[in-house]
Structure formats: structure tokens, C-alpha cells
């Protein structure tokens, strides 16, 4: 990184890289968010998902090894 790059150019590449990085990471972020929602809330609209009640009941279900319904 010996060469100096103009600030506007570095800002543009930074913006593009951050956008693409977040887009690629988004499915993982989304599944983390959904893991803190109840099953009913998790199938709502994105806005409903973000604003609904946060809960750890999914983790409790996994821990008690009691499956409510088969996925797939």
C-alpha cells in the first residue's frame, strides 16, 4: 500500500465493497435474526420480522430436543 489513492476513489471503492460484502453476508445475518424469533413471527413480512418480539424460545426448543415439526 505504498501508493496514495485519492480520497474520493477510496470512498467509492469502500462503498461498493461494503455493499457487496453485506449483500453476500446477508443470508447469514438474516438467519441469525430469525433464530431469535418465534416460529409464527419468522414467516411474516421483513418489516414484521424486524419489529416483532425478540425471543430465545427456538434455542430452548433445540436444547430440550423436542422437535415440534419436521423441517424440509
Amino acid at each position: 500500500m505504498a501508493r496514495s489513492v485519492s480520497t474520493t476513489r477510496s470512498a467509492i471503492t469502500g462503498l461498493a465493497a461494503w455493499t457487496i460484502g453485506i449483500l453476500i453476508f446477508f443470508p447469514i445475518l438474516w438467519i441469525i435474526i430469525l433464530s431469535f424469533k418465534s416460529e409464527g413471527d419468522a414467516i411474516g413480512t421483513p418489516w414484521h420480522i424486524l419489529t416483532s418480539h425478540w425471543t430465545t424460545e427456538a434455542y430452548a426448543t433445540v436444547r430440550s430436543a423436542r422437535t415440534t415439526s419436521s423441517t424440509s
Binding site: M1, A2, R3, V5, S10, A11, T13, G14, A16, A17, W18, I20, G21, I22, I24, F25, P27, I28, W30, I31, L34, I43, T45, P46, T71, S72
Partner: protein, 290 residues
């Protein structure tokens, strides 16, 4: 100082490891070939004995066989195209200096560490579901109907999932190749008046060919055996739309309980993989030398 004595000692000490690896490789292969010539159906245990080439005949004349072959090729080539082109572009982008470079690299790398089954479930239920998925909700927000990805274009959907998983790998390898490029070469070419496109075409791309070769070879090996994504999402359907060769082997040997035909399919898959590897090595193998 390799005298005759030390050389034979080295051979003796290597023998156990080589023997284990040989057994590890040869026993399953020989068993597969053996089963492929046997009548071996778990539902009919009384039917045993040598079957000749009937297992192979059955597998090849199966109406799903050619669909499986073409789907396998489309899957491999599609993912290869997306990941190598996307990987080059992403590597070029991430090589530029900007704020939070390390974090962005981590974000881009993350999908590679998600298990195939989990990623397929996430894509299937959270994104591609026409009613409850995120894409479905987005489509509804703009007044369209949700698109049934896995029902309408199953193979394309699976290509997207797999490409999402393998893009980080290509990016990582190509980025490390890019970082080993001598900056002075770029500066010199700039002084000589090379445009950005010319720099990419004549300096950066030739520098990356070896890394690209590695990416393509390794990915082809793994993409030929894609199975979890198909099992979790479409089960090869609708019809034969997303059936690939490993999945057809699974259908024959596990679902239909016919180990013999499954083994024959496995042998055919091995032969095809070797043909692909042969042409691949010949086409791009010269990049690995020098």
C-alpha cells in the same frame, strides 16, 4: 546424504502410511466395482450372483440418465462461471485500499463456512419460498406475485445456492494471488501509458491464471459430487429438472434399495469424472507448469 541405507530406511518408514492410504483408496473402489457386477437388491435377498453388465445397462438406459448427465454439467459449468468471474471481480475490488477492509473480507468469506445442508435450508425456506420467503415478500411489496424459484427453475436456484457457497473460496484464492503481484510492474505499465483495461488484460490476468487453474480444478472436483443441496431442496425434481449424477446414484441404491445398480452408477460417475479431469488437465494443466 541419502545413502542406500537411509533410503531403504525411509522407504520402510513410509510403508505404513502408504499402505493405509492404499487400503483406504482401493478397498471402497474395488468393492464398488465388485458390487456393480453383482445382483444385489436389498428387497430381493435371494437374488444373488454375477450379473454381467445388466446393472450398467439398466443405469444407462434409465430415462433419467441423460437428464442427470446434462444437469451435472450445467451445474458444474454454471457455478464455475459465476464463481470465477465473480471471484476475479471481487478480488480486484477487495484488493483496493478502503476503510474496514478486514471486516469486508471476513463478511465475503463467511458463506464458505456454512454447512451445505444449512445453507440449502436457509435459501429454500427463508429466501426462495414464494409465500414466506424474503424474495416473495419483496415481490409482493412491489405488487408482483412471489416467484416459485425451486418449482419453476430448480436447477438455476441450486446453482445460485452453490455459487453463493463457493464464491468466497474463489475470491480468497484469487485475492492472495493478486496480493503477490509486484506493484512495481503495475506502476511501470502505468508510466508506459497502459489503460486500466490493458493492465488487467496483460498483467493482472496472466498473473492470476495459475490461481484460477487451482480454483477451477478444486471446484470441479467438489461440484461434481453436489448432493446435499439437491436432497434438501428439490429431491431432484420436479421430474428430472434438478437431478444430477450423484443424486441418481442415491435414488438407485438407497431409495430403490438396489446396491448393484447404484454401484454401477458410481463406476460410471468415476469414469466420467476422470474424463472431465483428463480434459481439464490437458486444457489448463500447462498453466501449472513453469
Amino acid at each position: 546424504m541419502a545413502t542406500l541405507h537411509t533410503r531403504s530406511l525411509a522407504k520402510a518408514m513410509m510403508t505404513p502410511a502408504v499402505a493405509v492410504l492404499l487400503v483406504w483408496m482401493v478397498v471402497p473402489l474395488v468393492m464398488t466395482i465388485w458390487f456393480s457386477f453383482q445382483q444385489y437388491n436389498l428387497l430381493y435377498p435371494e437374488r444373488t450372483g454375477f450379473a454381467g453388465f445388466t446393472n450398467f445397462e439398466y443405469f444407462v438406459t434409465d430415462f433419467r440418465f441423460w437428464a442427470a448427465i446434462s444437469n451435472t454439467l450445467v451445474l458444474v459449468l454454471g457455478v464455475l462461471a459465476i464463481t470465477s468471474v465473480g471471484g476475479i471481480l471481487l478480488a480486484l475490488l477487495l484488493d483496493q485500499p478502503f476503510r474496514g477492509q478486514g471486516i469486508v473480507r471476513l463478511l465475503v468469506l463467511a458463506p464458505f463456512f456454512v454447512m451445505p445442508t444449512v445453507s440449502a435450508l436457509v435459501w429454500k425456506n427463508m429466501f426462495m419460498n414464494p409465500v414466506n420467503g424474503l424474495f416473495g415478500h419483496l415481490a409482493k411489496a412491489f405488487g408482483y406475485q412471489g416467484y416459485d424459484f425451486l418449482g419453476q427453475s430448480p436447477l438455476f436456484s441450486i446453482i445460485i445456492m452453490v455459487a453463493w457457497q463457493w464464491l468466497p473460496f474463489a475470491t480468497l484464492i484469487l485475492l492472495t494471488a493478486l496480493q503477490s503481484l509486484d506493484r512495481e510492474q503495475i506502476e511501470a505499465s502505468e508510466m508506459d501509458g497502459a489503460s486500466a483495461l490493458e493492465r488487467f488484460r496483460y498483467i493482472i490476468l496472466p498473473h492470476m491464471t495459475r490461481a484460477l487453474t487451482v480454483v477451477i480444478l478444486i471446484q470441479t472436483i467438489f461440484l461434481l459430487s453436489i448432493y446435499a443441496e439437491i436432497l434438501v431442496t428439490t429431491n431432484g425434481g420436479p421430474g428430472t429438472a434438478s437431478l444430477n449424477l450423484p443424486f441418481l446414484v442415491y435414488l438407485n441404491s438407497i431409495v430403490d434399495n438396489d446396491v448393484g445398480i447404484g454401484a454401477a452408477g458410481g463406476v460410471i460417475a468415476i469414469i466420467l469424472a476422470n474424463i472431465v479431469a483428463f480434459f481439464l488437465m490437458r486444457a489448463i494443466g500447462k498453466n501449472l507448469e513453469a
